[in-house]
């Protein structure tokens, strides 16, 4: 590993990190504006033009708030928990390719922080680590609402991770690789080669599971405010709360990116060969990726302000009795299809 390579990686890390953070801020703004629009309101429009600086104001407010730690709390874990949640959420993005590749200084640079050959497993592993943040936050707060929120959350995440993982397995079967680049390459070409058309069932399962994984409505049982006040972060305030907030939105961004990568051809621009266009192609690919991702981020908000929350038993039934068997059937069918085509 030479110095230049190291610098390039560093730059990529910074760019991805900054992009994630900016997107998070955009999401916070969008969440408030879109929800307002859907309810016939205007939403925040005072801070900056059209209220665009609202997330910054929110951030400053978070900084200014008093940092409370409940007296009965388990202090080290209480402080550690938000970080445990946030770090995996930010790390996940490292393996997602957000564009084709560009050539600078005679070097081909992949628009991806790390090309891991078990990329998809890496993502699944990290999302499962995030559960610790929630569980420990809930437990260490020494509050019944937090604990219940944490327990619910962990059970929910474990349940839906299975369905999600199995839905992804069918994609892996098609691509024959765990590398995300391979999966994208598999979807390259014409429009219908995207996995969403090849694996619609897997897509639906994955989409539902992703909503559950990110604790978004209609699956936000973790923080069902009517029952649990704020769920696992009831006792959190100030920056620690902001970290939870950040993690939630970072998770959403990752989830949207992953959905795009797995089912919508990633950075693929339909009917276009990006590599032949050089830098323009790379820019187009990044734009295409961002656009697709933006749609799914919007979908997150859209769904949140449309559907009511599930009851907990309904959630569990859906996860174990519907999505899991469906995912297994889907794997079986995909495997059968692949075997049959291989035999020919």
């Amino acid at each position: 590993m030479d110095l230049l390579g190291f610098i390039i990686i560093l730059v990529k890390v910074l760019v991805v990190f900054a992009a994630t953070m900016i997107t998070v801020m955009g999401m916070i703004y969008a969440e408030r504006r879109v929800s307002a629009f859907m309810q016939g309101r205007l939403g925040p429009n005072r801070v900056g033009p059209k209220g665009l600086l609202q997330p910054i104001a929110d951030g400053i407010k978070f900084f200014m708030k008093e940092d409370l730690i409940p007296s009965g709390a388990d202090k080290p874990i209480f402080i550690l928990a938000p970080a445990i949640l946030l770090i995996p959420a930010l790390m996940t993005f490292a393996v997602i390719p957000f564009g084709s590749s560009i050539t600078i200084f005679g070097r081909e640079i992949a628009l991806q922080v790390a090309d891991v050959n078990v990329g998809i497993l890496y993502i699944l592993a990290l999302t499962s680590i995030g559960v610790y943040g929630i569980v420990l936050a809930g437990w260490s707060s020494n509050s019944k609402y937090s604990l219940l929120g944490g327990l619910r959350s962990s059970a929910q995440l474990i349940s839906y991770e299975l369905a999600m993982g199995l839905a992804v397995v069918s994609i892996i079967l098609l691509a024959g690789s765990l590398r995300l680049n391979d999966i994208i390459a598999d979807q390259q070409g014409y429009f219908l080669s995207w996995n969403v058309f090849k694996q619609p069932l897997a897509f639906i399962i994955f989409l539902v599971a992703v909503y559950a994984e990110t604790n978004r409505l209609p699956f936000d049982l973790t923080e069902a405010e009517q029952e649990l006040v704020g769920g696992y972060h009831t006792e959190y305030s100030s920056l620690k709360f902001a970290m939870f907030f950040l993690a939630e939105y970072a998770n959403m961004i990752t989830a949207a990116a992953l959905t795009v990568t797995l089912f919508f051809g990633g950075w693929d621009v339909p009917l276009l060969d990006e590599s032949s266009l050089g830098l323009l192609g790379a820019i187009l690919s990044v734009l295409s990726f961002i656009l697709k991702m933006a749609f799914f981020l919007f979908l997150f908000i859209w769904v949140r302000w449309t559907f009511p929350r599930f009851r907990y038993d309904q959630l569990m039934r859906l996860g174990w009795k519907v999505l899991l068997p469906l995912a297994l059937v889907n794997i079986f069918l995909t495997g059968g299809y692949l075997t049959l085509t291989a035999m020919k």
């Binding site: 307002a36 859907m38 016939g40 309101r41």
Partner: protein, 178 residues
């Protein structure tokens, strides 16, 4: 004769839920593009309809004489006991010999039901359309006779809120407006 009500049998599509979910999404996205109903309060002001019950006022006759005769019917009718009146002899020679020496309304206690307006035999107390009279202290929200008469001066000729974008005159008692 018992009526037979057919229980709802969900069809295959109903059981799938997806059509219903899409329908729901369509509803919200339709609202996304609709005209918004919010009023930008400090810049624009909602003009209340006639009959709106807001801040009180004490009416006067054209010759500047206070209509109120301190009969305390409003205080008797008040369900929240927010009106307190101290009566006294009228400073005018002719006409009704009673007169409110003090007339205080606790705007925090008041529930703006308008019973005082209905109880008043002289048409002296009225509820105006003024709704934004918030304040920083409880004491400042007890409006006295001068305040009530000042409100009358503000509202006797025209609606207090003339135009949506128009910033109305300041109230005759200490308020904190944006």
């Amino acid at each position: 004769m018992a009526t037979i009500i057919k229980s709802y049998e969900p069809t295959f599509w109903d059981k799938l839920y997806f059509p219903a979910l899409l329908k729901g999404l369509m509803v919200t996205i339709k609202h996304f593009f609709r005209q918004k109903v919010t009023i930008q309060y400090p810049d624009e002001r909602h003009i209340p309809p006639d009959g709106y019950r807001g801040l009180h006022r004490l009416n006067k006759y054209p010759d500047e004489r206070i209509k109120c005769v301190a009969c305390e019917m409003c205080a008797a009718a008040c369900p929240s006991n927010c009106i307190s009146i101290i009566p006294g002899p009228s400073p005018w020679d002719d006409g009704k010999e009673r007169y409110p020496v003090r007339f205080d309304i606790n705007l925090l206690r008041c529930i703006y039901c308008g019973f005082c307006e209905m109880a008043c035999p002289e048409g002296a107390i009225e509820l105006t359309e003024i709704y934004d009279f918030s304040n920083y202290s409880r004491d400042d929200l007890v409006i006295d006779k001068d305040g009530l008469l000042g409100v009358y001066e503000l509202t006797k000729k025209q609606n207090y809120y003339t135009k949506k974008s128009h910033s109305p005159a300041s109230l005759p008692f200490k308020t904190e407006r944006t």
